[in-house]
Structure formats: C-alpha cells, structure tokens
C-alpha cells in the first residue's frame, strides 16, 4: 500500500523535561511535495525533525511517517545534517560517505555488494560529484560536502528527506545545483522537509511552508503560509518585502 501522505501531523505537541517546546502542529506533506520549516532559533524546527525521526515521543497528538509510526519508517527516511557539523579531518572518502546511505538496507553482519556501490556511484553522479569519489570528504568545499550528504540520502533510496539548513554557507552556484537535485527527487515522488531561514530559497525549493515559534503559526502552500503577516508573528518584528519578492524580518526597534 502506498501511503497518501509522506507525513501527516495532527495537533502535535512535544516536550523536553516536562516543558512543552512545540505545540499545535497540524499538516500533511504529500509525496513529491517539499516543506520549508521556518522560524527563529529555538522555535522547534529541530524538535519537529526529531519527532519525525521518532527520537522524541509526542505528548499530545499524532504523527505518521509514510503511513506508519515514525520509528518504523526510519529505513525510508533520510536525515541530511549540516555538513559543517562533521569532522573534516575524518579519514573517509566521498564514495564511502555515500555508501553509508546503503548500510541500513544492507543490515547487520553483511558487507556492501557491488550493487550497493553502483547505487552510491549513481547517487554521486546525480549531484555532479562522481569525479570526486575517491577524494577525502573533508577536502571538499562546504557546498560540495552538502551535495555529498544529499547523495548519501539518494543512495538510501529514502522516500522522505529531512534536511537541516541545507543552504547554510553555500555559494549561489551550489544553491542552484541543490535546488535542482531536490526538484528531481520531488519529480520522482520523494517528499522533502527542510529547516531553513533563507526565505528566498524556501520559495525556490519548497511547495509548502510551516512557520513555527514554539507553536504553529502557519502551515500550507508556501504562497499562502509565508506572508509578511505570518513572518511578523513568527519572528515578532517587522517583515519587509524587498525588491524581487523576497522578505526580510527586522527585529523590534529597527
């Protein structure tokens, strides 16, 4: 049975140490859709991602991932961290990092087969870094590392990708490349959830948006959800529309 929604959240609340840190989240993400999680630091974006991964239990409401409980969906969910949290001195090649995406499908006690290597190589090709396969991961630029981590998620053949600030510290060429790769994945029916604070990229890369500041402010198609008013509520300041359609938010007093 193919699930109708990649992600279905219904009145979700999550707590840490008995304190509610995220509350009232309701919405769905269908296969092929891409959701931007937008909000200030500490707004609960990471908490929501952790809940989707089944690493924190909701205190209220429900959450289904690909039609099942989050913990049961992990094989089909790929988490793409920010590349700069990884040790750049780690002695591992680009190809090995991508192959890591196969490890859970390979399972315990077994070694990667040539088919796994082929899948990893194809994924690396898709992000345009096949020629760097044998380089050490750490010698790549930040943007290239981010693309390698996306290739790892592609190699995992995940149906839902969770990205943590994928455009942080990334130059505009890489940004275009990443947006393009994500669009290809969406065309293949992969759903995407990304935490981002870059509103213009969110418009480019996402079909939907969820605005959070410890509770949900808006959730829906990005053109409806991401407005000057919702941004103002989310960030508690003034939202300013810039030439070209992008919006910035100024804190109070500016």
């Amino acid at each position: 049975m193919s699930p109708l929604s990649a992600l279905r959240i219904d009145d979700l609340a999550v707590a840490f140490d008995d304190e509610i840190v995220l509350d009232g989240v309701t919405g769905t993400v269908a296969p092929g859709e891409s959701l931007a999680l937008i909000g200030p630091n500490g707004a609960g974006k990471s908490t929501l991602i952790r809940a989707i991964l089944g690493l924190v239990e909701p205190v209220r409401g429900s959450l289904t991932v690909l039609g099942v409980a989050p913990a049961e969906a992990r094989l089909d969910v790929a988490y793409v961290p920010q590349s700069d949290v990884l040790d750049s001195e780690f002695p591992i090649s680009v190809a090995q990092v991508v192959l890591m995406g196969r490890y859970r499908r390979i399972g315990w006690l077994r070694r990667p087969q040539s088919s796994d290597r082929a899948t990893a190589m194809a994924a690396l090709e898709q992000v345009g870094l096949a020629s760097r396969a044998s380089d050490r991961f750490g010698v790549l630029s930040g943007g290239q590392r981010q693309r390698v981590l996306i290739a790892r998620a592609i190699a995992q053949q995940a149906k839902l990708l969770l990205l943590d600030e994928p455009f942080n510290g990334v130059d505009s060429t890489t940004q275009e490349l990443i947006v393009e790769v994500l669009a290809q994945l969406r065309a293949d029916g992969v759903a995407i959830v990304m935490a981002t604070h870059d509103l213009s990229v969110a418009h480019l890369a996402c079909s939907d948006a969820c605005l959070l500041n410890r509770h949900q402010i808006a959730f829906g198609p990005i053109v409806d959800a991401l407005t000057a008013e919702t941004l103002q509520v989310t960030y508690g300041g003034h939202a300013v529309e810039l030439a070209g359609g992008s919006t910035i938010v100024l804190p109070h007093g500016h």
């Binding site: 991964l53 690493l55 988490y79 002695p91 591992i92 890591m100 070694r111």
Partner: protein, 289 residues
Amino acid sequence: MRFLVDSFTAPYMQRALIQLMLLALLTGPISVFVLLRRRSFMADALTHTVFPGVAIAFFVDQSLIIGAAIAALLSVVLLSFGLRVRRVDGDAMLIVLIGGFFSVGVVIVSRGRSFASDLNALLFGKILAVDRADIVATVVIALIVLLAVSVLAKEFITVAFDENAATAWGLPVGRLDLALNLVIALVIVASLKAVGTVLVVALIIVPAAIARVCTERIGPMICISTLAAGIGGWVGLAASYEASIRYDVRLAPGATVVLILTVGFGAAAAISAAFRRRSRAASQRLANV
C-alpha cells in the same frame, strides 16, 4: 641489526615476542576505532579502572586476567550509568571513576609486604614472564575482539563519522559505544602482563595515531597501525634485550616498546609534514607556471 634476530634465542624472549605480535594484531585495528570514535580518554580511564581488579586477583592468587576483566566490565557498566548524571559532564565522571578505582587498587597493593615491586609489576608489566597460559588467553581475546570489530566495523564507522545520522537511522548508538568500550576493556586485559596498566593505553592509541598521519583512509590505517604496533613490539623488545645483555644498561622492555612507538609517531608526523610542505610547494609552482 643482527640483534633483531639474535635476541630471540631464549624461550622466554620467544614467548614475549609472540605475545607482542599477537597484541599488535589486536591493538592495531582496535586503536583505529578508538581514535575515530575519539575514545582515547575513555581508553585511558579503563586502563586505570582495571587496576584494582588486577591487584585483588594478585593478592588472592587468582588469574590477573580474570580480575582485570571483572574490574573492566564493572567500570564500563558504572560509567554507562555515570554518564547519565546530567549535572556532571563525561570527562569529570571519568575522573571520578579513575580516582576511585585506582585508589582502591593502591590501597590493596599497599597492604602487601612487597609493595614497591608488586606495584611496579602491575603498573609497568612483566613481558619476560609471559607464559603459555597468557599467550592462549591473548589468542582467545584476539579472536573474540577481532570478530566483534569486523562484524560491527561499518556501524562503528557510521557512528564515529556522523552520530546524528546514525541515530536517525535507528542505530543503537549507546549500545555500539558500550560494545566498543567492552572491546577496549578486553584489549587492556590482554595487554596487561606485557606492558602493565599505565603503558597499555599507549598501545591502544599510538599505533592508530602513527597510521593517521601516514594515510587518509581507514583500510590502510588499520594495516599501518597493525604494522606499527608489530614493529614497535619487535624492535622495542630486541633493543631492551640487547641493551641489558651487551651494554649492561637495563631497559624495561614494556616501556622500551612504548618508547619506540612514540619515537615512531614523532618520525611519522615529521615526515608527513615535510611531504605535505613539499606537495604544497609543488602545486604552488604549478599554479605559478
């Protein structure tokens, strides 16, 4: 260079060499995983926490290996619980355990009559007293540890490289770390008689450190690390024998092995730095052309 062969005519020297080569097979690969997972300090702590077990076993005339194994297991378990104390960080918790366990060991040893020499043997090892039973025990431990590590290698590497993604994939990170700690404990137990509780940590860290400055790949790192541990053991043992027999300079064999490894690390680091400078200069010249 003949001393590298000639030193090993006596059976006790042969047994010592066999023991050190077995330990190289064991510590070579393990040290790479310890380094990658940044568990050096943990390994150091465990070398101290096995001490009371060894001391108790020594005084009740039981197998040192069993005593060390019990103390190591106990400290790994205690540490797993200790790390859950939120207000005290992991490093501080390790120190609490090191201090507690080590002082228990010293108190026990100090009650014996031959305090100084006993303490010496426990702390710095007695490689020349290695017997057949020690070698058999090392073989058994090596089989268990190498099997565990080869089976869990890809999971260990995943956790070491990207703990967040490993958690997201549902890998049991805590249990994998516990497994690695148990492996470290077993390696310490196996190495105890050869180099003692103080120097054993060098065997578990230095080979991988040498390998890391020589290569940027995990596979070759494991090979180089094992080779370095083997060469260090062989040369160190032969050198200490040669020095004491021919030149009447008594060098403690365990410490000499560690010294050779440490010098090896210094040399490897210096050579690799020189190579990097040269290749940087070469690429700059190319860029200028």
